[in-house]
């Protein structure tokens, strides 16, 4: 789907403090409708906190979060989900004692008569149709992550936040997952993705935001941010310039 200029998600001056720790410091971020936007940064930079705040799990933040032109900061997670913003978790959180089918159906909208059929269709698409009655806890970790991803698709959200969806997933399932993301994006779903694999970010995302110590330090396309000195410093601790690299080689 072609991206549109109007943002589906916009945060302004978003702050979140935990005692003396400033997890988010005035984060301004825009996710364009129809895009796959990346959110990267070193460990502890505030990426998951950002997801927690935007999805309503953490309601202790200040600032503004606009989704589809509506302020959603302070809403409960289920209210945000029902408005069309869904997320996955860094570590799989399938319902362990519910079957795969139940895991999916429970995430559909309440009066959705076609939930079961949609669940079957999604499972067939990722070749998990034989696992309908298998309990969540009996799946492999990669399958659990996939089911968790399918679960948020049940409500046909317009924006999905993916928190390291491919972590711990085997290469085949990972491929399936990214193919689904591309397919859904082509159909109009917007994604904001936290991912540590830079090849995936480069391949998938049209725009990337870089968080470091709770601040957005760079944004733009991947080619632009990969050479940004602030980004290199955040990741490697100091600016790596070609000259510095040559000097380092010379000393080696």
């Amino acid at each position: 789907m072609a991206e549109r200029a109007d943002p589906i998600l916009r945060t302004h001056d978003l702050h979140r403090d935990f005692g003396g720790v400033h997890a988010l410091r005035g984060v301004d971020l825009q996710v364009r409708r129809g895009s796959i936007t990346g959110l990267i940064g070193p460990n502890g930079s505030g990426k998951t906190t950002f997801f927690q705040v935007v999805s309503g799990v953490d309601r202790g933040a200040s600032g503004e979060v606009w989704f589809d032109e509506q302020q959603i900061l302070g809403l409960k997670p289920y209210e945000i989900y029902q408005r069309g913003l869904a997320r996955t978790f860094q570590l799989s959180r399938v319902f362990p004692n519910l079957t795969v089918l139940e895991n999916l159906v429970v995430a559909a909208h309440r009066h959705d008569a076609g939930a079961r059929e949609r669940a079957l269709g999604l499972l067939e698409r990722v070749k998990l149709q034989d696992y309908l009655q298998v309990r969540g806890e009996d799946l492999s970790y990669g399958q659990q992550k996939l089911v968790e991803f399918l679960r948020v698709l049940m409500s046909e959200p317009s924006l999905i936040l993916l928190d390291e969806p491919a972590a711990g997933v085997n290469p085949t399932l990972r491929q399936t997952l990214w193919e689904m993301v591309r397919h859904l994006n082509a159909l109009g779903t917007t994604f904001l993705v936290i991912e540590h694999n830079m090849e995936v970010i480069a391949d998938l995302c049209t725009e990337v935001y870089v968080l470091s110590e709770g601040e957005i330090i760079a944004h733009g396309d991947f080619a632009a941010i990969r050479n940004d000195e602030r980004v290199l410093e955040a990741y490697f601790g100091k600016a790596r310039t070609p000259a510095a690299d040559r000097g380092h080689d010379a000393h080696a």
Binding site: S55, V57, P77, Y78, Y81, A86, F95, P96, L98, V106
Partner: protein
């Protein structure tokens, strides 16, 4: 509910309907107590089995119902209406209590509910003008319903709460409750209004104990604080549900029946041992069958399915 289970339910209710026609009062009394425990265990299952919020204070609703029913009956209300009114009162009381206690999770909720039961007992003991304190209230036989009326009312209550559990279990509401039990945070993240669902389940789980408490008061013709606000009664509900299968439709029925029959058999012959036997059974169950006795059937079905799958692919 699957057709086979409907048939089983119809058979059980049919059997319970005709037993008083040929059984002695002793057996009718025993069955009445069994049905009472089925109704209570099933009610506890509605909130604690379904959502994982373990209540140590559901006897409070039983106690509220017992006192409310006794006072209403003495005030001139027809006995059958009293049963309904007591259930409604327990349900009404449960709304603010649920709003307060369901904010807590895990052991905090359990302890808050235990405290609630103790508060109920204290009120019943200290509000002497209304409850006659520790002396309790004896109901005049002239206004009491007969044993068979109490029996059939208890049967109706046990059947109603089992039917309600089955209805909830097979509905979207039941699925949402089970999702809350599995992971409340994740449930909320997929659109489940956890506060509303938990409160609804809590109120539903309080209605029947209120009504059952009234029938129990009629049956014993006497009510006092320690007999109805009884932590032991609450522990029995928990034991029965865990033994049969928590969060299932038939687990509480099976658990209550098994424990009551065991108790009856052991009580007469080994009075010192019967509680130890029930405790031992529970321990074995928790160690080897954490899903309760009903999970035995499910494990077998799963094993058969696994074997069939292995056979098919090999």
């Amino acid at each position: 509910m699957p057709a086979r289970q409907m048939l089983l339910a119809a058979l059980l209710v049919g059997l319970a309907l005709v037993i008083p026609q040929f059984a002695s009062d002793y057996y009718v009394s025993f069955l009445l107590q069994l049905l009472m425990m089925v109704a209570l265990a099933q009610s506890w299952n509605l909130i604690s089995g379904m959502t994982g919020y373990v209540s140590f204070g559901h006897a409070a609703f039983f106690g509220i119902g017992a006192y409310a029913g006794t006072l209403l009956l003495q005030g001139g209300s027809p006995w059958w209406l009293t049963v309904l009114e007591a259930g409604a009162i327990a349900g009404l009381v449960s709304v603010p209590l649920g709003l307060l206690t369901l904010r807590l999770r895990g052991p905090y909720f359990a302890i808050a509910m235990l405290g609630l039961n103790e508060v109920g007992r204290a009120i019943a003991t200290l509000w002497v003008d209304v409850t006659r304190g520790g002396n309790g209230i004896t109901i005049s036989p002239a206004i009491l319903p007969s044993l068979s009326s109490n029996y059939y009312t208890m049967l109706l209550l046990a059947a109603a709460v089992t039917a309600l559990t089955a209805w909830v279990y097979h509905r979207r509401f039941g699925l949402e409750l089970r999702a809350i039990r599995e992971d409340e945070g994740a449930a909320e993240m997929v659109g489940v209004n956890t506060t509303r669902n938990k409160l609804t389940a809590f109120v539903l789980s309080a209605l029947v104990p209120g009504a059952v408490g009234t029938v129990y008061a009629f049956y014993t013709s006497y009510v006092n604080p320690s007999s109805v606000f009884s932590p032991a009664l609450n522990i029995q509900m928990i034991v029965m549900v865990i033994l049969g299968g928590s969060g299932t439709v038939w687990g509480p029925v099976l658990g209550a029946t098994l424990v009551m029959i065991l108790r009856e058999l052991l009580w007469a012959n080994f009075p010192a041992l019967h509680l130890a036997a029930v405790g031992g059974l529970l321990l074995l169950c928790m160690l080897f069958l954490p899903g309760g006795l009903l999970s035995l059937g499910q494990s077998r079905r799963r094993l058969r399915a696994e074997l069939a799958k292995g056979g098919g692919s090999g």
